[in-house]
Assembly symmetry: C2
């Protein structure tokens, strides 16, 4: 097995299925699959831009029998471990029931020409999409013989890494910064991780020290522009596989994806692209990258025809998307899809939270960027040839503003209560 990297080619291919390898791009550089390099391509990256590594597969080695066994099934598998033939090497102890998340119809909240469906990633073991990523990255740590896992994260990523590390018996250090939500710190600590809080600018140096001096395996980004762990998007690509099955072996008309670094976006795109390369479908759906509009990390890179850029800080409560640094993966996706980038800001996100709450789904502010993006697209007149999927990434319980609703204290007598209920807009005779 091997790992390939192309400076401009997220679509590089080799195989975890066979010894054969196929590469299709100019900058073919191949590295060992285990232990994987975790700080981008050392040959093509430079001081301004870092290029990610991708796991590549020999799709030609996927016979029709395997293809049918994987993609013709009528039911979602109950764990993404069952996609192992198209994933990097996995630690089978991580069978927590990751993935297999529901697709919930929320059309009633939208005026759209097509059904609107939420892919509810809060239904994972640590209640976010990050479990898909960490299944692959923590497997890499365990199978590489690393003595531990280290991650810089202010929330979902750290908790998921801590949970999965605990399950394979590896110590985990999570590097956070002052100002993280108290619940996020405790969430991570609950799984037995060592939770450090260091000044924000020092986080990357601390991760590097722990990698260099302790040999811990890093599962978050370590580069100037984002590259992340090469196994990360592999977990996310199973979302595309699942959608194909959940939609009755059809492609969605469009997929809206909350986008910060672009790992999730890239993973979803790669999954669809693989379906196409394997001959399961003949096209890739439109992908809509929904990012923080005031920062416009991805839109700026595309406008400037650059692989990735760093932008100025602007305030936002959507902490899971609050990056000032983009990555090459997201520009690559947008150059290979008919979708587009949509900027959304906190008021749009709050509105989207309310849209979903009315449908019985409470999501973290960052997690509804997809829904906010869809609303914008609909307002701008976009139409869709098939079901619209909004990937929603995490529970509202983790929201920075999770405490924004409070009970109304009341005396229990009916006069007081009925007045109060009337003021709440309820019909009281």
């Amino acid at each position: 097995m091997s790992l390939s990297i192309q400076a401009d080619a997220a679509a590089a291919l080799s195989s975890s299925l066979a010894t054969g390898q196929r590469t299709i791009h100019a900058h073919d550089l191949t590295y060992s699959l285990l232990p994987p390099l975790t700080a981008g391509c050392p040959r093509t990256s430079n001081a301004d831009i870092s290029y990610p590594l991708e796991v590549s597969y020999d799709y030609a080695a996927v016979g029709s029998e395997l293809r049918q066994a994987l993609f013709d099934r009528r039911h979602l598998p109950d764990d993404i471990l069952s996609w192992a033939p198209l994933l990097p090497p996995l630690d089978s102890r991580l069978g927590l029931g990751i993935g297999g998340t529901p697709l919930v119809d929320v059309s009633a909240a939208f005026r759209s020409n097509a059904p609107v469906l939420v892919k509810d990633e809060s239904r994972n073991p640590t209640w976010s999409h990050k479990d898909r990523l960490n299944l692959c990255t923590v497997s890499a740590a365990a199978l590489s013989g690393a003595p531990g896992v280290v991650v810089a994260s202010s929330g979902n990523h750290g908790a998921s890494a801590a949970a999965l590390s605990a399950r394979v018996g590896l110590p985990c250090i999570v590097v956070m910064s002052p100002g993280a939500p108290a619940l996020a710190e405790s969430f991570v600590g609950a799984y037995g991780a060592t939770v450090l809080s260091v000044p924000r600018d020092a986080r990357w140096g601390v991760v590097k020290d722990i990698v260099d001096k302790l040999g811990f395996h890093p599962v978050s980004n370590q580069t100037t522009t984002h590259t992340g762990h090469p196994f990360g998007p592999e977990g996310y690509k199973t979302i595309a596989y699942e959608l194909y099955i959940q939609l009755g072996h059809r492609l969605p008309g469009a997929v809206f994806v909350p986008t910060g670094y672009g790992e999730l976006l890239y993973g979803v795109w790669k999954g669809f692209e693989e379906l196409r390369l394997l001959g399961v479908v003949d096209s890739v759906p439109s992908l809509y990258a929904c990012e923080i509009g005031s920062r416009a990390v991805l839109a700026t890179a595309l406008a400037q025809h650059r692989p990735a850029v760093t932008v100025d800080f602007t305030p936002t409560d959507a902490y899971s998307l609050a990056t000032t640094t983009g990555g090459y993966r997201s520009t690559h996706v947008m150059n290979h899809t008919t979708g587009r980038v949509i900027g959304v800001d906190d008021p749009d996100l709050v509105r989207a939270q309310d849209d979903l709450s009315g449908q019985g789904i409470w999501q973290e502010l960052s997690g509804v960027a997809s829904v906010a993006g869809l609303r914008t697209a609909l307002q701008q007149g976009d139409t869709f040839d098939g079901p619209i999927v909004c990937v929603c990434t995490s529970t509202g319980l983790k929201d920075k503003n999770a405490l924004r609703y409070e009970a109304i204290e009341s005396a229990p007598d009916w006069d007081t209560l009925s007045d109060l209920l009337r003021r709440q807009g309820l019909t009281v005779a």
Copy 2:
């Protein structure tokens, strides 16, 4: 369709499948299925003890074709709506992907002669088992034409009722008490419910006023000893159906269930009992009711040969189990199973939380009573003829002590960091 009640018979039967009705007990009293009575049986209840109503079915009307379609399937359905033939009338708008929760192997945390599996109910739409109950109770409200839903709850039940009410367009009033966790208040409010905080002792009167004066449909208990909503356990019984499928069409050796009022316990028991009545299996597994030991609501009732008792208050952080009032359903179950009641207290629950955290699962303190109970049973020498299932009900994010872990602040230099990591027990050369 009809609803039956027996003073001593939780196992009464009639049908939502056919017009026929079969009743098997001395105190056969039948009431209309819609709108259901929601305050127990008005004829058999008295000032000391309230008797619940149960939905009864004509199991003889379930043909082999339907039985096979329901129980021979190899994959869990992705929504418990698919069990509709064995459930009360449901509102199909509530397709949020309720149920279908994973069964996670946590054997590594125990010394047991049989595998230990967690049924992780935190993977429901509002991250607790309560969604199963409220699918049925909120359906009752909607299909009865009620103008709204009211519930007394300090957390999971209220949030779930609020979410599902929002989805069917019904206003929801949740009655809480001072001292509820701030996150619980906000969790409920996020779904647009009206959240009232009234003095603890006044809660039931407030619910009654809202029922009587506004005609809202109550989905929580209204009686002296617990009866709850007659449709509630119907949702929970799908856990038994799912376990049968997930275990490869076999029964577990034992099921451990967190027990407060006993609705969940009863529901799980009823599901297995129905499998037996339908001829799918020929016995019912041992059920272990795991309750707060210092209160011993259920153990006391059994010791005194009474249908239900009220006990003195004792402190516990396990607020979802913290009842001083039992119900007839749980004594009925314990008189019809080979399992037993196990008392667990806060230190046992904290230990059980840690057991599961080491396996990548973080649960609310109340939600791990099952795991704490299993540990006690194992210490007392119990052995099991088959897989042991612990039903775990909700995410640690909702824990009253959810903030008990904090990050360790540190300067970022390696000397400081390495000292700190050493003190945390990590190996630093």
